[in-house]
């Protein structure tokens, strides 16, 4: 509150939700057993893949506690983009312009999302892409970035395959798909509707559970262990 009146602090200070989150992760212990952490698996849908121009139009997320997916508190919101005309990706997402028109803008949704992920580790498939757009929006509407450590299931998949196939195994890396749906099929997971933020988040969550529990048999029991396999660089 006092910051508000300090000259020059108005723009440079991040929103309280971001502040709180940052403080939480300052003293974060990575050495505890996995089951003690809370994870939020998320996926975003975008107007397009242009990192500069495109915007978030949907966020889907769900929590994993006790290493189980909690279906009681899922997060799923459409977001009204600033540029409604620029929605070339809607054919892919099957999100109609009407749905977006009726949705709340990012200023409303993002603080809810930040609140939702407080204290949790973020998990996503090709998470850096989602983080780019989330942080871009966070800087704009909340004056800061997310402090949550992230785990990329795509990197985990690479690690898992490396372990399974062996370092010296001859194979053409281009033949291996790390596409979310392909991985789901490959490992015999239940398959979800692609290109819906919540369904993709669910698919990612199943993949994440699959990896950590399969890895656990190999002795990877703490968050640190898992981090080595799917860590996403600092944002």
């Amino acid at each position: 509150m006092f910051d508000f009146f300090k000259p020059g602090s108005w723009f440079s200070n991040p929103a309280p939700q971001l502040q709180k989150n940052k403080e939480f992760f300052l003293e974060f212990d990575q050495g505890r057993p996995l089951a003690e952490y809370s994870f939020v698996v998320c996926d975003t849908e975008l107007t397009g893949l242009n990192r500069k121009k495109d915007e978030l139009i949907s966020i889907g997320a769900l929590r994993i506690t006790d290493l189980q997916i909690d279906l009681s508190s899922m997060f799923h919101h459409f977001i009204q983009p600033r540029d409604l005309a620029h929605t070339e990706a809607t054919l892919v997402h099957r999100i109609t312009p009407e749905q977006l028109e009726g949705a709340e803008p990012i200023e409303e949704i993002l603080p809810k999302f930040v609140e939702y992920i407080h204290g949790s580790l973020l998990v996503g498939h090709n998470l850096p892409l989602d983080m780019h757009f989330l942080n871009k929006a966070a800087r704009k509407v909340m004056g800061g970035t997310l402090s949550n450590p992230g785990i990329d299931t795509m990197r985990m998949a690479q690690g898992y395959k490396r372990v399974r196939l062996g370092h010296y195994h001859e194979h053409n890396p281009r033949e291996i798909s790390y596409n979310l749906d392909d991985l789901g099929r490959e490992y015999g997971l239940p398959v979800f509707k692609p290109h819906d933020a919540l369904e993709d988040a669910l698919q990612t969550a199943y993949l994440f559970l699959y990896f950590i529990k399969k890895f656990r048999k190999g002795g990877l029991v703490t968050l640190k262990d898992i981090f080595q396999s799917g860590r996403v660089g600092s944002f």
């Binding site: 189980q68 909690d70 508190s73 997060f75 809810k112 997971l189 199943y206 559970l209």
Partner: protein, 642 residues
């Protein structure tokens, strides 16, 4: 963490879709399914993960297999594994444990990488509670096997453990007890037979046809040698055929010792030939079975038979619950148990009245000690009020009449007194032989029945029903048979009587409300107690009685009446089977309830406290009660009011 209301609003479509596809969830409406899905969690178990361990894991949620599969198996003390089941996608794990409130009863391990929805235990129980179809689905699939498990649970968990009282009556077959077959030709002399018995150190020999050694024609025992030969001064060189008992009574080799024991006790034949595939393979004696275990019904039976003083019977009668307790633990069904209780009580009575006759001198007229009500139906449990009467032959003249009245009055007074000392409480309704009204000659008894049947006053009929279940307990059974014949003859003539009886039967309300809620009164007492005898069992007893009287069936035991009705095609197999099961289940519940009270040192009663019942007990009782409604509709069709 504060949670936005929006956060909960999202319905996990894939979970809803999953539930919509599987039984019995597919019968639920969308709102319920959405709510269910929101309460679920998803977990992943790599191949080879142990989900449940029998006897150890407390089941906190129902597992529903979304992807993958599991195997169910049991493991014995030696580590021997028996595979019970494979379950795949859409199947559930843990329902029985949750409903029954017990630990896991099987080991469950994933055989593939498996994803499960986890539905919390409370949510599942609420569904079972609220949706009848739902409960039905799970209970139905529990099948006979599971119901047997439930019986075992009833026996083992509800009775306190005592060591060293394991009985083998229900696991050992007589074929396993048989020793080498010893036999002698019928043409051989008595002396030759006796020396063979000495040589083989056995108490009996089978006797075969002198022309065909495979044709067993009789049996000779130590007792025959003693009473028929030595005591009678018979010539030892006579052929053994002269003193043998024949034809020999047989049992099948696969018969359980329990059944054989029942046969020995009810026929008083202590040596039975054992038959396997049409061949006699040897003899089983009461001694062999006694050796099997020390504290057996037979042991008690023998003590009763050998008792020379009436006061000696007092303590023996008190041992009956202990013997019955062993039987329940060993796995006897209610039908067997009540049969055993009846046999033991009958022997106490027989011994007592025999000794009493010796004290008072022989009766002036043939008589029959009648047993009424549950005793008449051989359905006593531990709480057995006396319900008895004396029926004696019609006196020829006034002098005989007077002598009889004096004798039987004294006889009854003493007998009732002794019975009280044995632990059989007095009948509050004074239906006892000491009541002059119920100590009468045959002609008076016939008059009573003719009166009840001919001019039925519903109020009086209510009190009279227990008389219709009379049987002979001791004495001249032909008197009881004649009275029964008279009764059947009268009853079948008078439909109005059966009509009243049927209507009366239907007036007992089905106690389904018992299950709706367990309300506690303001003062803390349970107003919702179940009288399992009056509300649960009596409708079955009444139903069987009405139909038995209608069709002239002599049996008095409810299960025997039902069987006879089914055999003669008066009721369908379906009605018979479900009635039989429902009745036996309730008898079992009642026996266990009373046995526990005895062990706690309280007086046995019929009031079951719902809190003592597991979820499965309640379900099974509820199912049993729904059978009552079916019986009522059968009666209603037979005796419509309009």
């Amino acid at each position: 963490m504060s949670q936005d209301a929006d956060v909960h609003a999202v319905a996990p479509e894939m979970a809803v879709a999953f539930f919509r596809d599987i039984l019995p969830f597919n019968g639920l409406d969308d709102a319920t399914l959405n709510d269910l899905a929101r309460h679920c969690r998803v977990d992943f178990y790599p191949k080879g993960t142990r989900l449940l361990t029998a006897g150890e894991t407390e089941i906190t949620h129902l597992f529903l297999i979304q992807r993958g599969g599991v195997k169910a198996f049991i493991e014995d003390d030696q580590g021997e594994i028996t595979l019970k089941d494979f379950r795949g996608e859409g199947a559930y794990i843990g329902a029985l444990g949750i409903i029954r409130g017990t630990l896991a009863n099987l080991n469950i391990e994933t055989v593939e990488d498996t994803f499960c929805f986890l539905l919390p235990r409370e949510i599942f129980l609420k569904l079972v509670e609220e949706k009848p179809s739902f409960a039905h689905y799970y209970l139905k699939s529990f099948s006979e096997k599971i119901v047997k498990t439930a019986y075992r649970e009833l026996r083992h968990h509800k009775l306190s453990k005592r060591s060293g009282d394991d009985l083998y009556l229900f696991s050992v077959k007589v074929g396993d007890l048989v020793k080498t077959l010893r036999k002698v030709s019928g043409a051989d002399s008595i002396q030759e037979a006796a020396s063979l018995m000495t040589e083989f150190r056995v108490g009996c020999l089978l006797v075969h046809d002198s022309a065909d050694e495979h044709n067993i024609v009789g049996i000779v025992t130590d007792r025959d040698l003693r009473s028929k030969v030595v005591a009678a001064g018979l010539n030892y060189s006579l052929p053994v055929m002269e003193i043998m008992s024949g034809p020999v009574q047989t049992v099948l080799s696969q018969a359980l010792c329990f059944d054989v024991l029942l046969k020995m006790m009810s026929t008083s034949i202590h040596h039975l030939a054992v038959e396997r595939r049409g061949q006699i393979i040897g003899v089983v004696t009461s001694h062999d079975i006694m050796l099997l275990q020390g504290h057996s019904p037979y042991y008690l039976f023998k003590e009763i038979r050998g008792q020379q003083k009436i006061v000696g019977l007092y303590s023996l009668a008190q041992k009956i619950p202990e013997v019955i307790r062993g039987l329940i633990k060993e796995g006897a069904k209610a039908g067997n148990i009540t049969q055993m209780i009846a046999i033991l009580n009958d022997h106490i009575l027989e011994r007592m009245l025999t000794l009493l006759e010796q004290d008072l001198g022989p009766p002036p007229l043939p008589y029959c000690w009648l047993l009424m009500g549950s005793e008449g139906r051989r359905e006593q449990t531990f709480k057995t009020d006396q319900d008895n009467a004396i029926l004696y032959a019609d006196p020829a003249d006034d002098t005989e009449k007077e002598t009889a009245e004096i004798y039987f009055k004294e006889f009854a007074a003493r007998a009732i007194d002794h019975l009280v000392n044995c632990g059989y409480p007095l009948c509050p309704g004074e239906i006892m032989a000491t009541n002059p009204k119920w100590c009468q000659p045959l002609s008076v008894w016939k008059g009573y029945f003719a009166n009840w049947i001919g001019a039925p006053d519903p109020a009086e009929l209510l009190n009279a029903t227990i008389f219709f279940d009379f049987r002979s307990g001791f004495g001249d059974a032909s008197l009881a048979r004649e009275l029964r014949k008279h009764l059947n003859h009268e009853a079948q003539k008078k439909d109005i009587f059966l009509f009243h009886l049927a209507r009366q039967c239907m007036s007992t309300r089905v106690p389904l409300s018992f299950f709706k809620s367990f309300i506690v009164d303001k003062d803390g007492a349970h107003k919702n107690q179940l009288d399992i005898k009056r509300q649960g069992l009596t409708p079955f007893v009444n139903f069987a009685r009405v139909l038995a009287l209608k069709h002239g069936i002599n049996e008095t035991n409810t299960l025997a009446r039902l069987k006879a009705l089914f055999d003669a095609d008066f009721i369908s197999r379906d009605i018979w089977a479900s009635t039989n099961d429902a009745y036996e289940l309730q008898m079992q519940q009642r026996l266990i309830h009373q046995l526990r009270q005895i062990e706690e040192g309280t007086l046995p009663d019929n009031h079951i406290n719902p809190e003592q019942l597991s979820e499965l007990d309640r379900r099974m009782l509820k199912d049993a009660f729904t059978v009552i409604e079916r019986l009522y509709s059968v009666l209603d069709k037979m005796y419509p009011t309009a």
